[in-house]
Symmetry: C4
């Protein structure tokens, strides 16, 4: 299968802005994008499945299973706003090759909607907890930072010489091949792996609201993130178990019918 | 090659129910499905080979080699029963990507037989030995648990927020893409890797017999599982060796003919 | 590229017997097959390259490089003998998936020459040095051991419940799909990884000579293996280095022309 | 995507000589080739992207992102010189299979320009710092060393029985399949992973200038390499972090709308 997108609907969108918020450091991008999806009442129109996600399904409260996926949502423009496509999801690729494959798949799909501009969201691990985290910006092209200068984004990041790992970086970087430009917004976060960082997501959301020219009640964020923390701890424990169990899925062949065979069932 | 199915026969089946029991935790699913294959005298009609299995063959009592494979069996309906397709095998994929590839291959093949419903079997590691293990159920779709409510399945599993690893989970979760629904039956087991757990398999079998409306003499199970334990211990030792030997399969090129070459054979 | 066979010549062969001797435990199969290639003056007719070999070339005495490969040789029948195809090489796949890919590639190619029977050669690690190592046999099909009963092969191997790792096992096991049968000859060897085991190769060669009905001066074997040992030690040291160096092949991008860029060369 | 070359221009070149200088031990080849690109004012005409590079982008001084890539440059012949194609880049494949895939992609592309000869550049780790490092040569074909005998290359390397890892070795070795011959120039270097070795690059450059019959002011090399060292140290630190972060990019699915679901955002 590799990676495949399943469409639920074919929305007609006018010059949509593409916003990516997949899980990553501090879950910053995911929290922010998910908040937008809910508060803007975005509508899901496609799902992406990939053999580069972990090989398990999640068990939900309702006892139904959930395959790991990425989900595309759209929001039709209201007032001064613009049509939006939002990408959220459960997982990014678990191997480098899959990261490229999925990024190309997404960009190829976005091109079909006429996407010319994107905003990717993520966290930037800085190794300490900061009272007032900043939003660090990276752009797809030299000089493009000027376009985004009125949104309280720190464009000095380059001086620290770093990398942007995974979808947020690759989508922006590979976008050129698909005729897309854009900016990556990284909320400063401690980088401690397990816990989601609502503070970092909040500052990213504030910049985003300015850019999108929308007003959302950001106070709801805290409560939701609280609930999320315990959930994530459980899930990560499950993941550790999952890796351990991969070793157990092999077994000897079924015994042959002949008498001289060692007889067994499994 | 990747993954390929070799057909031995093309059985005509009416709305068959697909049951999967590949090796996993406690070998619960495999033991249960294998028991059905033998007791219902199911007939093999196809084999699945994959480059995502380990790169060795097993040596059988008869000194013939056995390639790792998954096997499809069918049972024609008798009395009130339904046509069945049973999937058992020696191994699951040894890498995450292969798990997806094989699941899609299986589902694609099952669709050709008109499969609309499946039951996948496995174990649920709970970290302790339980006197009376339960059968935990997971369904492919919200609300589907009601359909299976009369079979002593515990559908509270979701509250524990877990994952179903490998074929049992992926087949159920990806089945939606292929128009299939179903249930996964997980027998509670300690999760200790090496030993097969006949108790967990037994409770799963009891639920299965109710669902399939068949009566089988489940007392045979114990004896067969006993024989199996020693066999599995040997096999797992072999597997550890196999991994060690992977490092040894490289060698310098054959010496050139010229005198000035360092001459050697291998 | 994956795996590809490059033909140097298209020999016409009558019902050829295919013999495989790639590197493995104690280099038993490789030593034996290489000896046959040299003593029977076999002619190379094809080479197999694969992206599943290590990503380096070997430097030869002549300062020319040698890409890792597998090589096909043929010998035309003389007297009572049969046309032979011999496969030797520098390496087996370094990952499980490649083992399957290469085995299928080889079998597919062999089928074009009408191969119906094969002999695969290898070592069986028994954890101790034995005065008189035996040749353990495994066959592709139940009952086929009877066909080979007159050649001093021990067909009790099955009772030890083991595995045959890599090409020797997979070629035999997957051969069924290609309409081929055969036997695997495993010389008992200590299993100590680095050193080639000429004693094990010798007993395998003795069985082989009987089967092929040829007489070769097996005393040459010792001298050649001596020379080989030092060579192999050097190569294996190189391999360890090679793995260490994989980490070093990445580097920052070239500096941009602008003054504000950190300027550097590499 | 795998590996793909994006053309910026289609230069017409006459029997061009292909020179490869990708990152490797001591960054010897990359430093030398980069110096040629700058001093000969070579023009970029194509870029190679690959899913076998790390899954991140680099953040540049200008706050724009840089996708890891390999770059093709050309130089038109002046005076006695020859048309050149130079290959430099940020990275080599991070897995063995990718090394083969990328090498084949490059060779296939070079064949379109009529390339018949290549020079690949690299370092040879010797475990010690040498006052006067030598340039060790390896050739694609037996006897070809004679063609390069007037350029102060040490062709005794074969006696040390070694390997050439990655692009420099594979391009030379696989070139045969594409009708190309050539030489690999390896500057002796300590092999200490992090620091680039300008001394080794210098001796390689001196040989290269003789071969290409060009004169360049090699004193500029030192200053540039100085600036580079700090940069590389930072980048390698980033890479270590990147690997750590791969573990964090998974997350539970978004909560379902129903009340009984555990509600959360991310």
């Amino acid at each position: 299968m590799a990676t495949r997108i399943f469409e639920l609907e074919k929305p007609k969108l006018k010059n949509p802005l593409f916003i990516e918020g997949l899980p990553g450091i501090g879950h910053v991008g995911r929290i922010a994008a998910q908040f937008l999806v809910e508060e803007l009442k975005a509508k899901k129109f496609a799902e992406l499945l990939s053999s580069h996600f972990m090989h398990y399904v999640l068990l939900q409260q309702s006892s139904s299973v959930h395959v790991l996926k990425n989900e595309f949502y759209y929001v039709k423009a209201k007032g001064k706003g613009r049509d939006l496509i939002l990408l959220i999801g459960d997982s990014q690729s678990i191997d480098p090759e899959g990261h490229y494959e999925i990024a190309h798949e997404i960009l190829d799909y976005m091109r079909k909607f006429g996407v010319k501009e994107m905003i990717t969201l993520g966290g930037l691990g800085i190794g300490e907890v900061k009272e007032n985290p900043k939003v660090i910006g990276a752009v797809s092209d030299d000089g493009l930072d000027k376009k985004y200068k009125n949104f309280s984004i720190d464009f000095d990041a380059g001086s620290k010489v770093g990398t942007i790992i995974g979808a947020s970086g690759l989508l922006l970087g590979l976008g050129k091949v698909y005729g897309m430009k854009g900016v990556c917004l990284l909320g400063e976060t401690s980088g401690y792996p397990i816990l989601p960082d609502p503070r970092a997501a909040e500052v990213v959301l504030k910049v985003l609201m300015k850019m999108l020219n929308v007003k959302l009640d950001i106070r709801k964020l805290d409560k939701k993130v609280k609930e999320m923390e315990e959930f994530i701890k459980k899930i990560e424990e499950m993941q550790r178990k999952a890796i351990g169990q991969m070793m157990q899925q092999q077994m000897p062949p079924r015994g042959k019918e002949g008498k001289e065979e060692l007889s067994y069932i499994g």
